[in-house]
């Protein structure tokens, strides 16, 4: 068992409302990612689960039992800190052994457990070193080992990969997924990196200003963002949003363009809407009747693909194209739209129209 449940968490620091009614249900054995920009309350949420923050309101249940007032030691959780928080005076071995020593495990058991986790993370040769003698990546592995050496109810990870360089980060991403598969266990993983979130999570919660915007699988969040903010935050390049309104069987853009109205677009005529178009659902190469006319504004070759900025009136859309695409600035262009994959948001509330995208 290893379910973590947070109900209505509230926490403020002075005038800043860090958590504003955060509710999360982390199923047993899941890789649960909390995604949000910095300042969204991700770390505070994690610290609240760990028992490191005193909450203003809300409850934390672990395995169905109320643990809101339990001290961290009694919660049977392990945490990896963003700064790693390795004890500077202790060797890697002592750092990793710390959770077992705190629980008074016998010495030979400790040695076996540390050796096992060191092998899992390929850090056998680091065991005698102190944190000052390790690189960032090595410290990160030791911090991970300190958490994984035990089989706690759940593992809490606070942006553990943020301080690593890109190559190492990609490596560790795969490695963490592998570890989760082989060890099992419940992971609650906090990050501001949407690529991490989408690639690692089996459940994803998007957090903004201390409130949960959406919870779902990565695919659900990407394909059916609950509101325009989530649509803008998840996905790279950023989704293009065009102001428009529905009229009869047409969508009419603020810049004058016209597209057929999708059947699922239930909004009443004339209501201000935002049409959300992801770069991969647009094409400058495909010919189609369902298209927007504009002019080429910029071209960004990225090796495996190119991003084309097309100006539609005063608005701008990003289009994913083959790397061979060419063109000069100001050239007229027709952008084919895959309307089945488009998103519509209410311009006032920002919420997605029911049935958006499908």
């Amino acid at each position: 068992m290893g379910t973590v449940s947070a109900q209505g968490l509230r926490k403020s620091f002075g005038d800043v409302q860090a958590l504003n009614d955060v509710t999360l249900e982390v199923p047993d054995g899941s890789f649960f990612v909390v995604l949000g920009p910095s300042g969204a309350g991700k770390t505070t949420t994690l610290r609240a689960l760990a028992g490191l923050e005193r909450l203003d309101a809300g409850t934390v249940h672990l395995d169905g039992r109320d643990a809101t007032h339990d001290p961290p030691a009694a919660r049977d959780l392990a945490m990896v800190f963003q700064s790693y928080a390795l004890y500077p005076r202790q060797t890697a071995f002592e750092n990793i052994a710390s959770p077992l020593r705190a629980r008074k495990a016998p010495a030979d058991e400790i040695r076996t457990a540390v050796a096992q986790v060191a092998e899992l993370l390929h850090i056998e040769r680091l065991l005698d070193r102190r944190p000052a003698q390790m690189s960032g990546g090595e410290m990160q592995r030791v911090a991970l080992a300190r958490a994984l050496v035990r089989r706690p109810r759940a593992f809490l990870m606070d942006e553990p990969l943020t301080n690593l360089d890109l190559k190492l980060r990609v490596e560790m991403r795969t490695e963490l997924t592998r570890i989760h598969r082989s060890l099992g266990g419940t992971f609650v993983y906090v990050t501001n990196d949407q690529v991490e979130a989408l690639s690692m999570a089996d459940h994803l919660a998007v957090l903004r200003d201390g409130t949960v915007q959406q919870v779902g699988t990565p695919t659900e969040v990407y394909e059916r963002p609950a509101n325009k903010w989530v649509a803008g935050f998840v996905g790279s390049p950023r989704i293009s949003l065009l102001a428009c309104h529905a009229e009869g069987d047409q969508l009419i853009g603020a810049e004058g363009w016209k597209l057929p109205r999708p059947q699922w677009a239930t909004a009443e005529d004339g209501r201000p809407l935002l049409l959300g178009l992801r770069a991969e659902d647009l094409s400058v190469e495909r010919r189609s009747d369902v298209a927007l006319d504009g002019e080429l504004y910029g071209l960004e070759p990225l090796g495996d693909r190119a991003l084309v900025d097309v100006k539609i009136g005063d608005a701008m859309v990003k289009v994913k194209a083959r790397p061979t695409v060419t063109g000069t600035r100001g050239e007229r262009m027709s952008v084919a739209v895959d309307l089945d994959r488009a998103h519509l948001f209410d311009a006032d509330t920002g919420l997605a129209l029911a049935g958006t995208g499908r």
Binding site: A50, P71, P72, A73, M79, F81, Y87, P88, A102, R130
Partner: protein, 305 residues
């Protein structure tokens, strides 16, 4: 990230004078000579009393009064140093008792102030407390006044409590003066140790206090040592309370005891100087030991944040 308190304290400025390097003309040499000359003058002025004290302590009684004064060429003697510790007829001298009292009082008050101040500093560093800044300011404000301002009320209170002329009384008052200092200085050192170490220890399965004791405290040892030496020096040197609150020679600490040698019809300056040297030595040694923290410790420790 794994910065220990010791490493976080920058050493004394070690860079050679930059302007002397930049220009290589004759002007810079003249400048260096003037600078050196002024510094030498200052050093002589500052060190002369010390030199005179040391000289007097090893001069024969009549050489002390010699006119013109002799800097060299007198007969050196260690009789005065013997007299500091041994009574003329044998047995322990009053001064040696006073030194012992000083050791006891300064040691006990420093230990007590450290024991009380370090946990308090930890609490002020780690916890959200109501009006924390005001509390810290209040604590500091107890050091605003010179001791002589409060010595009369303290005297009256001590008389009622029966603490007049007791070592315990001195220990308590010195502790009261050292605790605020300890809290402020230690808070600076503790602020430098990331709170996440303790968070991590708590998740490892330790209680909050165990987390402090096992993880943070070992990192604070250099800071505690520096702070304790400052407290020790304060208690060791303290004169005003000592002279007002003690009267008998078996309780009196060294500062008033040495001052008591002056007065009467004849003053044995050799003895005064010798006891002053003995009195100054421990402070010199300790100051030397913590010279790195003397500047850095105070600025980094207490002023930042």
């Amino acid at each position: 990230m794994a910065l220990s308190v010791d490493e976080a304290v920058p050493g004394p400025a070690s860079d050679p004078t930059p302007h002397a390097r930049r220009r290589t003309g004759g002007g810079s040499r003249a400048r260096a000579v003037i600078e050196g000359g002024l510094l030498l003058l200052l050093a002589v002025a500052m060190l002369f009393p010390v030199l005179w004290m040391v000289e007097t302590s090893i001069k024969d009684g009549r050489d002390v009064y010699a006119v013109p004064a002799q800097f060299i060429g007198f007969d050196a003697t260690l009789d005065h140093y013997r007299d500091v510790f041994v009574k003329p007829g044998g047995g322990r001298s009053d001064l040696s008792v006073a030194f012992l009292n000083s050791v006891i009082v300064a040691g006990a008050s420093t230990a007590l102030a450290t024991l009380l101040g370090v946990p308090a500093a930890w609490a002020y560093s780690r916890f959200t407390l109501k009006a924390k800044k005001d509390q810290l300011f209040f604590i500091l404000s107890t050091r605003f006044m010179p001791p002589v301002v409060v010595v009369i009320p303290i005297f009256l209170m001590y008389r009622d409590l029966g603490l007049i002329n007791t070592k315990l009384g001195l220990v308590l008052i010195y502790t009261a003066f050292n605790v605020p200092f300890t809290i402020w200085m230690m808070k600076g050192f503790i602020d430098e140790v990331p709170a996440e170490y303790e968070d991590a220890a708590m998740l490892d399965g330790y209680s909050r206090f165990q987390a402090f004791y096992k993880v943070t405290l070992p990192l604070l040892v250099p800071g505690i040592a520096a702070t304790a030496v400052f407290a020790l020096i304060f208690s060791w040197n303290e004169f005003v309370f000592a002279i007002f609150l003690t009267s008998s020679s078996d309780v009196r600490t060294a500062p008033p005891a040495i001052a008591g040698l002056i007065g009467g019809t004849t003053v044995d300056w050799g003895l005064v100087a010798a006891s002053a040297v003995v009195f100054a030595l421990p402070v010199l040694v300790f100051t030397y030991l913590v010279r790195k923290h003397l500047v850095a410790g105070v600025t980094l420790g207490a002023v930042r944040r």
